[in-house]
């Protein structure tokens, strides 16, 4: 077999194939439900109901989507430049640590929220700076270094929670002290359990979108990602662009951790993120790296997780079905996107 480019793919092909990928994912979901001995349609229904079936469910989904928007954006920005930042998990924790460091009394005025948000972004950016400099200076593959940093960061968090940041009132649980009220993100509407982190995530997505489409940096990021050789030839500072991309990406991922601590949890624990950094990759890829698309796919992915939790309690299908579905969706989607541009021909 051979792949032949399609010069001008039709709209049906460009929209139909990704839709088909999602349908195929649903098929896998039903097959898994069957394997688990449950009624496939009922399982799908319960996932949907668990994610969107009530005001509470929707709010839970949106809350879960918030860190995923941030990590999805972080990945989308980086992947656009073909900078393979797989370290959003570690950068997320960097942001969370800063939220605790500055939010537990070190800063006490109304300044604490903006200052700690900025500091969190700096911390996340700094964490990605190492791998990107190793890449640009020494040619060290950033995939492996960012992955390895995730493990190092988790151990560092564990150390902090058992040592310097341990909550004296924590009854032995490895968690940090609670944030002071001024350092907490307020709810968007009184009484509704949805914090300002969600709104910030949407704003971040719009800002990233504007950067990508309207600014010289966005032009450079796209050029470097598509063809670094041509970008360099045309006079673009390729390494500088990669570093700027890394700072942006790391900063966005850090906001995920910061908003989880400041908005949702109010403290840091080592189970703050159930892999939001890795899931961000799926969110970004499903959105075809489009910043506004990330909002939608993050909500979709969050809905699958929240819905699967609810379904699992009701139907007894393991909640890990969510992870399987999302990984499947990712693989189906990248294949579908390819097939919008090429067709498979014989010989």
């Amino acid at each position: 077999m051979r792949l032949e480019p399609i010069p001008n793919p039709s709209a049906a092909r460009r929209l139909g194939l990704p839709a088909l990928a999602l349908v195929a994912t649903l098929g896998v979901a039903m097959a898994l439900a069957l394997i688990a001995g449950a009624n496939p349609l009922a399982v799908l229904g319960q996932i949907a109901k668990g994610a969107l079936g009530s005001k509470l469910a929707i709010l839970e989904t949106l809350n879960r989507a918030t860190p995923l928007i941030f990590t999805g954006l972080a990945v989308a920005v980086a992947f656009r430049a073909k900078l393979w930042n797989i370290g959003a998990e570690a950068q997320l924790y960097a942001g969370a640590i800063v939220a605790v460091l500055l939010g537990t009394g070190a800063l006490g005025s109304p300044l604490v929220l903006p200052v700690s948000a900025l500091a969190a972004m700096l911390a996340g950016a700094a964490l990605l700076l190492g791998p990107v400099l190793l890449k640009t200076r020494l040619g060290v593959d950033e995939v492996v270094t960012t992955l390895l940093l995730n493990f190092i960061m988790l151990l560092f968090v564990s150390y902090l929670l058992e040592g310097p940041l341990k909550d004296p009132m924590g009854m032995g649980w490895p968690k940090s002290p609670a944030l002071i009220p001024e350092a907490r993100l307020p709810r968007i509407v009184d009484g509704l359990r949805l914090h300002w982190g969600f709104a910030l995530a949407i704003i971040a997505a719009v800002v990233v979108w504007v950067i990508q489409t309207r600014t010289t940096l966005g032009f450079e990021i796209r050029a470097v990602g598509q063809n670094p050789e041509a970008a360099r030839f045309a006079g673009m500072p390729v390494n500088t662009v990669l570093v700027k991309t890394a700072l942006l990406s790391g900063g966005l991922a850090a906001l995920a951790g910061w908003s989880e601590v400041a908005g949702l949890k109010g403290h840091l624990s080592s189970d703050l993120s159930p892999g939001f950094g890795y899931t961000g990759i799926i969110v970004a890829m499903l959105a075809l790296l489009h910043p506004l698309g990330v909002i939608l796919t993050a909500i979709f992915v969050a809905g699958i997780f929240v819905g699967s939790d609810a379904m699992s309690r009701a139907a007894g299908v393991p909640t890990y079905i969510a992870d399987m579905l999302l990984a499947t969706a990712l693989l189906f989607m990248v294949l579908a996107i390819l097939l919008t541009r090429v067709r498979v021909v014989r010989g």
Partner: protein, 511 residues
């Protein structure tokens, strides 16, 4: 030989081969026969369908219609293995060698069952073949360290080792000095004397006249003529090839202006098998086309990188208008009026999935098409439309992705982008490679026009004919060394060939 090739048995018969790529018909009912002991040239300009036809024969592509017969047996389509087994050996234009393996390993690759242990005996056969055919190369040398000429010998040995009876050579002389080409021709004559048959793909008329018995001319995928080389001449072949009279521009001599760029004793480090520059001194003068001849891989890339701002001299100086720039980068080169037409328009000159607007502003987006950090897409689009109009870029519009354009139209956009700021130094690296005759004439005409306006043009080409037709001054590169400049008309191709082979450099750099 007792019987001439004309009566010898037919070893290969292509019958009405048709191959389409989407809307393009690359081969349209092409038929061709090859006899034992014969050299048939397949002549045609770029894009005429020569390489496609041979890729079908060798099994890389499957023809939509038509059949291939080798020694009277039909050849199953689509498998190089079948072609190899039938005795067809191909020397591709881009060598298909693994640089991390030795010569011997490259030759034996795929000749033994994958599920066996390697057996000896290969070495003796390779050594015998290289002796018999005059193909000197060390069997244990790493291919990555070989020169281009040596690599070609390995390619030919690969085919001979498999007992190929039919050799296909795709543009084999493009990478050789005239003298190396002569050696290749000697090898081919030995091969035909031993009963092998050769298909020789080329667009160079004098080579075809020198080596081929017969010549099949392709144009736009069709056979437009089949002639005996003894019964024709170059002019007739040229007319067949391009379909009428189409003369390429020739630049007339002019008085040169001041030196705009000067390299003084510039050296750069070697990069693997590619030599760096060895104390190169070069002056580019206003109103002059400086031609740089040489076999590819002799340091032209390193020189182009220096002139274009992609590299800085490790030793020596570069000056523009008598000044040495403090920093030297692609951006700095652009800012100082150096226009660059890159060697590889697909990988260096354009971004395939960007549209024409984005590609048009790739070099000037900061200086001309943005305010502070914001892109001015309206101005960018107007700029692209201007290039499309002025340079006759055939395309649906500025929002077309550049990957959909033909090579010639892509090159016109790159040319328009480079010429827009009114550069006074122009680096044109292989500017017409792979273009059809119409586009070649256009691009070369633009370079001459730029010279006539007073620009200094550095033309780098592996095509000696092109260099000799356009250049006011010719330098030759060999192993990173630069020859003195020769004024227009003072050197023959054979003279330049000796320089290309490095024989004229004497021992000035023996130290």
């Amino acid at each position: 030989m007792t019987t001439g090739p004309a009566e010898a048995e037919v070893v290969l018969r292509l019958d009405r081969i048709t191959k389409r790529f989407g809307a393009l018909t690359a081969n349209d009912a092409v038929s061709l026969t090859l006899r034992r002991g014969e050299v048939v040239a397949l002549l045609g300009e770029n894009g005429a369908g020569k390489t496609t036809l041979m890729n079908i024969l060798f099994g890389h592509y499957v023809a939509d219609e038509g059949t291939v017969e080798v020694f009277g047996q039909p050849l199953p389509p689509g498998t190089p293995r079948a072609a190899l087994a039938a005795g067809v050996g191909m020397v591709h234009q881009h060598f298909t060698l693994a640089g991390n393996l030795t010569v011997l390993e490259n030759i034996t690759l795929g000749t033994e069952s994958l599920w066996s242990r390697s057996h000896g005996g290969a070495r003796a056969k390779v050594e015998r073949l290289s002796r018999d055919f005059g193909l000197a190369v060390h069997p244990d040398a790493k291919v990555g360290r070989l020169s281009v000429g040596e690599r070609q010998r390995v390619e030919i040995l690969k085919a001979l080792y498999r007992d190929a009876r039919i050799l296909i050579l795709d543009e084999p002389t493009a990478v050789l000095t005239p003298q190396e080409s002569d050696a290749l021709f000697a090898t081919l004559r030995k091969a035909t004397a031993l009963g092998l048959s050769v298909i020789f793909i080329s667009h160079k008329l004098h080579e075809v006249m020198a080596i081929a018995d017969r010549c099949v001319v392709l144009r736009h995928g069709r056979v437009v003529g089949e002639v005996d080389t003894h019964a024709t001449d170059k002019a007739a072949l040229a007319a067949l090839m391009v379909g009428g009279e189409l003369s390429l521009p020739r630049a007339e001599a002019r008085a040169p202006g001041p030196v705009l760029m000067r390299l003084e004793g510039v050296s750069t480090p070697d990069r693997g098998a590619a030599p760096g520059l060895k104390a190169v001194t070069l002056e580019l003068r206003a109103g002059q086309i400086t031609g740089l001849a040489g076999v590819s891989g002799n340091g032209q890339a390193a020189l182009a990188e220096i002139v274009g701002g992609l590299a800085v001299p490790a030793a020596g100086q570069l000056s523009l208008h008598g000044q040495e720039p403090k920093v030297w980068s692609p951006g700095e080169a652009l800012a100082r009026g150096v226009a660059r037409i890159p060697e590889d328009r697909h990988h260096q000159g354009s971004i395939a999935d960007f549209d024409l607007t984005e590609n048009a502003v790739l070099e000037a987006y900061r200086s001309r098409f943005s305010r502070r950090a914001w892109m001015d897409w309206r101005a960018a689009r107007a700029f692209a439309e201007g290039i499309i109009k002025d340079y006759d870029v055939r395309c649906p519009g500025p929002s077309t992705r550049i990957r959909l354009l033909s090579g010639g139209n892509m090159q016109k956009l790159i040319l328009g982008r480079a010429m827009a700021p009114g550069p006074d130094i122009i680096l044109a690296n292989q500017p017409v490679r792979g273009l059809d005759v119409g586009a070649i004439a256009y691009v070369q005409g633009q370079l001459i026009a730029a010279r006539d306006r007073g620009a200094a043009v550095l033309l780098i080409s592996e095509d000696l004919d092109e260099i000799m037709a356009l250049s006011d001054v010719i330098h030759v590169m060999s192993q990173g060394r630069l020859s003195p400049g020769f004024a227009r008309g003072t050197m023959t191709a054979a003279d330049l060939g000796l320089w290309m082979a490095g024989q004229k450099f004497g021992d000035t750099d023996a130290a």
